[in-house]
Symmetry: C2
Subunit: 444 residues, 2 copies
C-alpha cells in the first residue's frame, strides 16, 4: 500500500491520487489539507455520499449504492422515526445528567429490561471507546488489580487505554505491561473443542499474570470476534471461559459494540447466544443510529464501589437528544420485529454465501450469524493461503457495481458483510446477485 500511510484493509492509497477523476482528486486533496493524515478513506477509488435512505446511499451524481457494510445506521440511513425523535427533543431540551430528567430514567429501565435480571444499572458515554475505557477503569478499581486479557487481533477502541488493548491497530499503538494476548477461538480448525481450548489458553494467561505479580483484573472480548475473523459457532463456546475468569476472581467484560442490538439474530446481545452472564457489558455503534451514545451496563454490585468513590461525569453522555435517538431505535427494532427479520434473512444470507463459495474456490469458509458474515478469501483452488489482494479486488469490484462491503480479519482476507438491520429479501437477492457476478468476472 502507501509508502506513507500505515496499511488499512480496504483503504485508499494516497500515492494513487493521480489516478482519480479530476473532481474526486480535487476533493481528496482539499480534504487532506485540513484533516490530519490519521484520516483514511475507503476504496481504491473513494466514494462521495450526499444522501442516505434505508439501505441506500447516494453519491453527488444521484447514483444509488446498496449498503451491505454499515452497522451504525442499524435501523436505516435517515430513519424518519429517529430523525423525528431527535428533532422534537432538540426543539425542547438537550441537557446533561446533573439535573433530573425523566426520559433517561425511562430509557434506562427499558434498556435494562432487555438484559438478564442480574444486569441492573447503566452508565452512559458517547462512544464505544469511552465505554470500553470506563469498563476497564471499573474493572481495575473493583478488583484492585491491573492485568487485562484480550484476543490477539482484537479491536476495542481509540482512547489510549482502549488502543492499548487493540492489537489490530498495529505496531505503533500504545502498549503496556498489563495487557496479555490470547489466540481467539478458531472455530474453523477447533470446531466443537473451540470453547474448551480457548478457556485453557485464558487460564494459562491468568496463571502468568498471577505469577509475575501483575494480577488479573478482567477478560474482554467482542462476543462475535469481529476483528479476529468472525467466530460465531457453535453458540455456547464462550461458556467455559466465563467460568475460568470468575474462578480467578476476574471480571468478564462483553464488548457488544458490534454484536449488540440484535445484530447476531438469535438474541438482543451476542453473549446471550452463548448462554453466559458477563459482569459488564459495553454498548455502542447502533445504539443511537448514528447519534453518539454508548453505555456500560452491569451488575450493580460491580458498579457500586467505583460509583461511590468516583464521580464519572460525561458532559454529553446520555444527554436528552442522544437518549431520544436511542429510545427511537428500540421502538423501530421492536415495532418492526427486526430480530425476526435478522434471524430469517441472516439464515438466507448464510445459505446464499455458502452457495456462492461452493462455486468459487477463491472463497473458502463462510462464518457468521444474523446479519454479520465473514467469508475467507484464499489463493485457491488447491490452496487455503489467505489472499488479501483477492479480498480487496472483490470489495472494489462490488464498489464499482455500487454495492458496499469491506474486508478485515487477521490477514485482511475476510469479506466483511454487515448490512443495516432493515435489509430486505430484495436487498439480499441484489447483494447475492452482485457478489456472484463479481466472482464470475474475477474467475472468468
Amino acid at each position: 500500500m502507501s509508502s506513507k500511510n500505515t496499511y488499512m484493509a480496504n483503504g485508499f492509497d494516497p500515492s494513487t491520487l493521480d489516478s482519480l477523476d479530476p473532481e474526486m482528486r480535487a476533493m481528496v486533496e482539499r480534504r487532506s489539507r485540513v484533516l490530519a493524515p490519521s484520516y483514511r478513506l475507503f476504496y481504491r477509488e473513494p466514494v462521495e455520499f450526499v444522501r442516505g435512505s434505508g439501505v441506500r446511499l447516494f453519491d453527488s451524481h444521484g447514483r444509488s449504492y446498496l449498503d451491505v457494510y454499515n452497522n451504525v445506521p442499524a435501523v436505516g440511513h435517515a430513519n424518519p422515526r429517529v430523525t423525528q425523535a431527535v428533532c422534537e427533543q432538540m426543539s425542547r431540551l438537550n441537557t446533561h445528567t446533573r439535573y433530573v430528567t425523566l426520559p433517561i430514567i425511562e430509557y434506562s429501565e427499558r434498556l435494562i429490561g432487555l438484559f438478564p435480571e442480574e444486569i441492573g444499572q447503566v452508565i452512559y458515554a458517547c462512544t464505544g471507546s469511552e465505554a470500553v475505557d470506563l469498563a476497564l477503569r471499573i474493572a481495575k478499581y473493583e478488583t484492585g488489580r491491573g492485568g487485562v486479557i484480550v484476543t490477539r487481533h482484537a479491536y476495542h477502541g481509540t482512547t489510549t487505554e482502549a488502543a492499548t488493548i487493540s492489537p489490530s491497530l498495529g505496531p505503533h499503538r500504545p502498549t503496556a505491561g498489563w495487557v496479555r494476548y490470547v489466540d481467539a477461538p478458531d472455530t474453523s480448525v477447533e470446531g466443537a473443542d473451540a470453547g474448551r481450548l480457548f478457556a485453557d489458553r485464558v487460564r494459562q494467561t491468568i496463571d502468568g499474570l498471577e505469577s509475575d505479580g501483575t494480577g488479573f483484573a478482567a477478560f474482554i472480548a467482542d462476543s462475535i470476534f469481529s476483528s479476529d475473523g468472525l467466530q460465531a459457532d457453535p453458540a455456547g463456546f464462550l461458556k467455559p471461559v466465563v467460568d475460568v475468569v470468575h474462578a480467578a476472581g476476574g471480571l468478564y467484560l462483553a464488548d457488544e459494540v458490534q454484536p449488540g442490538f440484535g445484530r447476531t439474530g438469535d438474541a438482543w446481545w451476542g453473549f446471550l447466544r452463548h448462554g453466559i452472564l458477563p459482569d459488564l457489558v459495553i454498548l455502542g455503534k447502533p445504539m443511537g443510529n448514528g447519534m453518539p451514545i454508548s453505555a456500560v451496563v452491569g451488575r450493580p454490585e460491580v458498579l457500586e464501589r467505583f460509583g461511590n468513590d468516583m464521580r464519572y461525569f460525561n458532559t454529553f453522555g446520555g444527554n436528552s437528544v442522544c437518549i431520544a435517538a436511542a429510545n427511537a431505535v428500540l421502538d423501530v427494532i421492536e415495532d418492526g420485529n427486526l430480530l425476526e427479520n435478522i434471524r430469517r434473512l441472516g439464515g438466507l444470507l448464510g445459505t446464499g454465501l455458502r452457495g456462492i463459495a461452493r462455486d468459487y474456490p477463491m472463497l473458502s469458509e463462510v462464518r457468521g450469524c444474523g446479519l454479520f458474515y465473514g467469508v475467507d478469501v484464499v489463493t485457491g483452488p488447491g490452496s487455503q493461503a489467505a489472499d488479501k489482494d483477492g479480498a480487496e479486488r472483490i470489495v472494489n469490484a462490488l464498489r464499482q457495481r455500487r454495492v458496499l462491503i469491506s474486508s478485515s480479519g487477521r490477514e485482511d482476507n475476510v469479506l466483511k458483510i454487515r448490512p443495516p438491520l432493515v435489509f430486505s429479501d430484495a436487498d439480499l437477492e441484489e447483494f447475492l446477485g452482485s457478489l456472484r457476478s463479481v466472482m464470475e468476472d474475477l474467475h472468468g
Copy 2:
C-alpha cells in the same frame, strides 16, 4: 456530605433523600435504581427540567429558571438554527469519515480559519475527554517521551488517561508515574509576577522529569484555569511558560474546552488572550451546542508522524450531523456578533460582581473575563479563609430563586458564573439583582 458518595461541590447528598418533596423523592429513587452511583445530581434540592429556550430552563411545573451556569448550550438552549441544521442533516445523511463528504471539509476550513496560520489541521472526536486523550497520545508519540505536566487542581476529562491528569477528581482517580503537578498561577497573590513564577515552577518540574529518566512530553493547561479557581489576569501571563516548554523540546497543549469559542470575550480562544501559540489545541463542550463533537487542532508538523503511523478512526467523530451542528454554532456566533456581546456584557458582569463584593465581606476576590467569572467566598469579615459552606448556601439560595450557578475551585469556595453566550443586558440585571438579594438575606 454523604457518608456514601465522594464529595462534589454543589452535589445533592443522597442521605437527605427523605427531605425532598414526595414527587422529587420518587423520581430520584427511581433514577438511582437504574443509573449507577457514579451519577451525581446538582443542588441540595435537585431540579427537574423538561424544556429550555435561550438562557431559560423550565421545570415540570412550568417555572422558569435563569441559566447562569451552562456553557454547553453556548448559543442558547434549543437554539432554532442549530436544531434546524441538525434536523435537515439527519433527514439527508449521517455518516462517518471514511467516505468523502463535502461539509466536513468546508467546516474544517472554516474552523481552522479562526486560528493563527500555523494551526492548520484537525482531528474530530466526540467529547473533550476523547480529544484530551488523543492529544496526549499524539504528544507522547511525537516526542517519544512520557512525562506530562498539569496544574495541581486541573480537570481534563474522564477517560483513564484524561482522569490520570485530572487531580481535581480526588484520591480515587487513576494515577501514573508520568504525571507531574505544578501549582497554577495564583494571580491574586502573585500579580504581575504570576507568569514568571509559573514558568519557573514548570521549568523545575521539567528538570525533575529529565533527571529521573521519565522525559518531558507535554505541558497541558486549561487556558482559563477553570478548576484552579479561575485565573485570567493579567492577560499574557502564559507567555513565559510556552517558551520554557519549547526550550525543553516539549509540546504545549491548550485545553480550550472551557475558554474556547469566544467564552473569554477577547478572542475566539483563551490562549489568544495570552498571545501564545500552542502546538495542539483541544476543543469541546460548546462546539456543537450539545451535540457531541470535539476536536484536536494543531500544527501539521506535529500531527504528521502520528497520522502517518496510526489510524485514528472515531466512528461518530465529526459525523455529518455533528458537523452540521458545529457549523450552525459558528453561524450564530458570527451573525449575532456574540464575541462583542461577550466582551461588553462580560465587562458589565465583572463590574457588577465587584460592586456586590464590595458590600458583602463574605465575597472577597472577583476573577474572570468575558462571560466566565469566579467569586471567592470567605468566612470574613476579617478572615480570608475559604468558606465552602458559604458558597454552597449562596448557590442553593440562588437555585431557590430559580437562578442557576454552581461552585468549584481548589477549596470548593468559588462561585462559578458562566451563562450561555446569548445572555442579554436584562438577563445580567436579573442575575445581579438576585445575587444581591441572596447576599442581603444571608447577611441579614
